[in-house]
């Protein structure tokens, strides 16, 4: 039976979710294996060395680097306040004074008689990694963090901006094919809003200004995205944007209804706490944005069903490129031979009967599996 490799995005109502929670540098792990954690719980902590400032002291005092130690009023290892003198020269019987002051508060890390520079470092900053999802500590990664295992619903989006946030899920459109109206955004402080087919720039900003933690929507236009983040995103590596609300789109750009299955699953979870992350990386080691709603593990976790990754005759698919972008259908044939398409390219195609009745030929590369 002919098949084609076409993975889709995950939309699972009840699955086992494992999240690697690691510090950007070595630090202290605060949890133990088997421990139950809430989403807000700190999993690991590290003291990030503060930023350093170089002071060209010898140059400022008009002395040779090797003479610098003679003029110090503070020593390496000592604490210093912003504006405090570190080194000083006097001339004309002490009448003229030349001083080097620290631009920041911190510790004098090094005084170099080779370069004549003084290095002052700000005090360390505490960095914490939180569990992000409520669950159980499956494994501790020594000095770095932990793997949290949770059970619940997982929805992958196609693209997002903004980092990890948590909030209560709330549906704000009348259906998956309805565009979000600005007046529907009310009393949404701290919520993760779910809209249908799209939202324009001002409406997205309105949601963010109203204090929403996240907005999940079928599609937005490039223009709306630019208006929200304030610039053209060039490379598809996101998650670090300085935006007040995480935005996740589930289908693509333009105006596209949210897939009914996604809409219905999120609708069934309305009122529950969702963990969202807009981080997207579309290249080797793909990262897609996620909406996770965990449940208490009262029973055995469901068996891990490997997501279907091959298209076969009868597979439910979505067309993910023009023409017919967004249309749903079922594969009726997978001819093995190369077929010439409108562009004159010869490619492997699939015959697809669209839900609206039409039978079309689509390059296999332009199909996405819909898990049933």
């Amino acid at each position: 039976m002919p098949v084609a490799y076409t993975p889709g995005l995950r939309v699972a109502a009840d699955t086992v979710i494992r999240k690697n929670r690691r510090l950007p540098m070595r630090g202290q792990v605060l949890v133990t294996a088997g421990q139950t954690v809430v989403a807000e719980a700190a999993v690991a902590r590290a003291e990030m060395p503060g930023a350093a400032q170089l002071i060209r002291a010898a140059q400022m005092l008009h002395v040779e680097p090797q003479e610098l130690p003679r003029h110090l009023v503070k020593r390496a290892g000592e604490e210093v306040q912003a504006g405090e003198a570190i080194a000083r020269t006097r001339s004309l019987w002490g009448l003229l004074k030349n001083e080097v002051r620290s631009p920041i508060s911190g510790i004098i890390e090094e005084i170099s008689s080779t370069s004549g520079h003084i290095r002052v470092r700000e005090r360390p900053r505490t960095v914490e990694v939180r569990a992000h999802v409520a669950g159980r500590v499956l494994e501790v990664i020594a000095g770095e963090g932990a793997v949290i295992e949770a059970r619940g619903a997982l929805v992958q989006g196609i693209f997002g901006v903004g980092g990890e946030r948590r909030g209560v899920l709330r549906l704000v459109s009348d259906g998956p094919d309805q565009v979000l109206r600005a007046e529907a955004i009310q009393d949404c402080q701290g919520c993760v809003l779910v809209a249908g087919a799209g939202a324009d720039g001002p409406t997205i900003s309105r949601a963010a200004n109203a204090g929403a933690a996240g907005l999940v929507v079928g599609a937005v236009s490039d223009e709306a995205l630019r208006q929200y983040v304030g610039y053209d995103i060039g490379v598809a590596i996101t998650g670090q944007e300085d935006v007040p609300m995480t935005l996740i789109i589930t289908e693509g750009f333009g105006e596209l209804p949210m897939a009914r299955r996604t809409w219905e699953l999120l609708g069934s979870l309305e009122g529950q706490l969702a963990s969202v992350d807009g981080a997207t990386q579309i290249r080797a080691g793909v990262i897609r944005p996620e909406i996770i709603v965990t449940r208490e593990a009262t029973a055995e976790a469901p068996p891990e069903a490997a997501p279907e990754q091959v298209v076969t005759v009868g597979s439910r698919v979505r067309v993910i490129r023009e023409p017919n972008f967004g249309a749903l259908g079922r594969v009726t044939a997978l001819p093995p031979e190369l077929t010439e398409i409108e562009t004159e390219s010869r490619v492997r195609i699939a015959a697809v009967k669209l839900d609206r009745g039409e039978e079309v030929r689509v390059p296999r590369a332009n199909l996405e599996l819909i898990q049933e």
Binding site: A51, S115, G252, G254, R283, E344
Partner: protein, 593 residues
């Protein structure tokens, strides 16, 4: 190596590992087959050799031969199984990412950049005394980027010492850490003023893995990039590759050291330039980056435009060129908002392919802009040394030659090689020829070709061991000739005759603003005589006759009278009419035979 009859070579790319089989036959070496599989550097595999075995496994299936035994490539070939040589290149895991430092941005820092790029690296930042940033900004940047390696340069011999010490202090203050391998020290190559070596050593101490090599710019008038490039290659193998999962194992399989992919392509481009006896420009346009390689005279240069690509970074081309910059190349009406949404959708689903003509024309338009921007970037860096006092004679007074002028001379260029899916797999070869011509605007007489299956990396590493085999396969199986472009340069009014030609007994005339094509099949050559009008030049000088052989290809001989620089009509209707005429004349318009 006379006994080498069977060669297996792999290229471990970021997403795909490609394997090729080359065998010696009576008339020399030939490509026999090709297999590929996803690269497995990342989770859940975390072992590059899994992908290598899979790609070679596919090659075994397709060719009916055996290369693997005991879970590895067997060398040498015994009883018909295994290979006499197994070679590999790699750009997996994002390639070699380097930070370079220098004193003056356009002098030593630029030389350091050339050294790193020529060694196959991606330069993620250039720190220089005059880069306009404050020390704390530089420190924050060094800290944030986590390079694989740092190349430190600056000061000619006998020149500044203090600036080198300052840079060493910056590295220490930033507590620079490598991207891979949390436990190992960051490799730093020092290729600056030798008088500062001791001071730099004292400042950085044991914090980094410091390697001292000869000054890469010992005098303002001289670059010495070889030792720094060799050191980069050595540290790449010893440190960076050794940190990538599975490479320690792969290094025990290969018959020669694993080479970084861009370095291997660079080796092949240089070999091709020597064999052709001409200046060569090669471009590889990928999903994330566009690499440009050139050989002008005896100068080899490479640049990588890290965020100009056609899938992951397609929207970066949009950001740099603007919607109107891309739209101007589409010979059909398309609203800018529609164009932008289509490109965003390509970005998020990069493996999809154009099914409609509009989408195809859009992707080819993006390719033109990506190629144009990448060449501009290349031209800025592939330059003569800047900051040199030039001895001038009376004859120079009128030529106004400045130091640091770009080496890229489109008139002297003999061959352009295009590589990457959009060029190699364009539905019509004529479309590839037009994309290259529109983006690069070759001048005079220039041969065009595409790399059939992007085999240049494997051939580049093969060239380091068996150059004649690499060249034979390059000419026979790798390069697909597209034809020759003839573009007169000079001022002319629209419609004015700019060139008359004679070719195979036929005569023709080219007018300003027109593009014409004469068929000349692949493998054939024809003698052409060109008579440019008084103000025009095709390579022999203004108004001077040019006579020579031109090579055929799928696009034949293209006579391009559109002028240089190529300017499109500002009026939308006129632009659409012109684009349509040119594409039809070149045989590049989909649906029009």
């Amino acid at each position: 190596m006379p006994g080498v009859a069977r060669i297996v070579a792999t290229d471990c790319g970021s997403t795909t590992t490609k394997a090729v089989l080359i065998e010696r036959q009576e008339d020399g070496y030939h490509l026999i087959g090709r297999g590929e599989a996803p690269t497995t550097v990342e989770a859940p595999f975390d072992d590059v050799t899994v992908g290598v075995r899979n790609a070679i496994g596919e090659l075994e299936e397709l060719t009916g031969r055996e290369f693997l035994g005991d879970g590895r490539v067997q060398t040498p070939c015994r009883s018909g199984s295994g290979a006499d040589l197994y070679l590999s290149t790699s750009s997996a895991g994002g390639g070699l990412q380097m930070l370079v430092t220098g004193v003056v941005k356009t002098m030593t820092a630029e030389s350091a950049q050339r050294a790193a790029l020529g060694a196959g690296a991606i330069v993620i930042d250039v720190i220089a005394v005059d880069d306009g940033r404050a020390d704390h900004e530089r420190i924050a940047r060094i800290r944030a980027i986590r390079p694989d390696m740092i190349l430190m340069s600056g000061g000619t011999e006998g020149g500044t010492v203090q600036h080198l010490l300052d840079t060493a202090e910056l590295l220490v203050a930033a507590d620079a850490r490598p991207r891979l391998g949390r436990a190992f020290k960051l490799p730093v190559i020092y290729a600056g003023n030798s008088e500062a070596r001791q001071g730099v050593q004292q400042i950085v101490g044991e914090r980094v893995e410091l390697l001292m090599v000869d000054n890469l710019r010992p005098q303002l008038e001289r670059e010495n990039l070889g030792p720094a490039r060799e050191a980069i290659h050595r540290l790449f193998l010893e440190h960076v590759m050794a940190q990538a999962p599975g490479y320690d194992e792969l290094l025990t399989w290969t018959s020669a050291p694993v080479m970084s992919t861009p370095r291997a392509v660079g080796e092949m481009v240089q070999l091709a330039a020597r064999e052709e006896g001409a200046d060569v420009l090669a471009v590889d346009i990928g999903g994330a980056t566009t690499d440009v390689f050139s050989v002008f005279g005896d100068q080899f240069n490479r640049t990588v435009s890290a965020n100009l690509g056609l899938s992951y970074s397609v929207c970066n081309v949009l950001a740099e060129a603007g919607g109107s910059g891309i739209r101007r190349w589409i010979p059909a009406a398309m609203a800018e908002s529609d164009l932008r949404d289509r490109l965003r959708n390509k970005m998020i689903r990069p493996t999809t392919i154009p099914q409609s003509v509009a989408d195809l024309l859009l992707e080819q338009a993006v390719a033109r802009e990506a190629l144009r921007l990448a060449l501009a970037h290349h031209g800025a860096l592939a330059s003569g040394l800047k900051g040199i006092q030039q001895a001038r004679t009376m004859a120079d007074v009128f030529t106004q030659v400045v130091s640091g002028a770009s080496l890229v001379d489109m008139m002297s260029l003999g061959l352009i090689i295009g590589s990457g899916g959009i060029l190699s797999h364009a539905p019509r070869r004529e479309q590839a020829a037009m994309m290259i011509t529109d983006a690069f605007e070759p001048r005079g007489v220039t041969k065009l070709a595409v790399d059939s299956i992007f085999m240049m990396p494997q051939l580049g590493v093969l060239a380091s061991v068996l150059p004649e085999a690499a060249m034979q396969v390059f000419c026979r199986d790798c390069l697909i000739p597209l034809g020759t472009v003839i573009a007169p340069v000079g001022r002319a009014r629209e419609g004015e005759a700019v060139l008359e030609w004679e070719m195979r007994g036929e005569r023709g005339e080219l007018r300003a603003g027109d593009l014409r094509r004469m068929p000349l099949p692949t493998g054939e050559r024809a003698e052409v005589t060109l008579h440019p009008s008084r103000a025009m030049d095709v390579g022999a000088g203004r108004g001077r006759r040019w006579r020579g052989l031109v090579e055929g290809g799928a696009a034949g001989v293209i006579f391009d009278g559109r002028g240089r620089p190529l300017e499109l009509p500002p009026d939308d209707r006129q632009r659409l009419t012109k684009l349509g005429q040119w594409m039809r004349a070149a045989g590049a318009m989909p649906g029009v035979s």
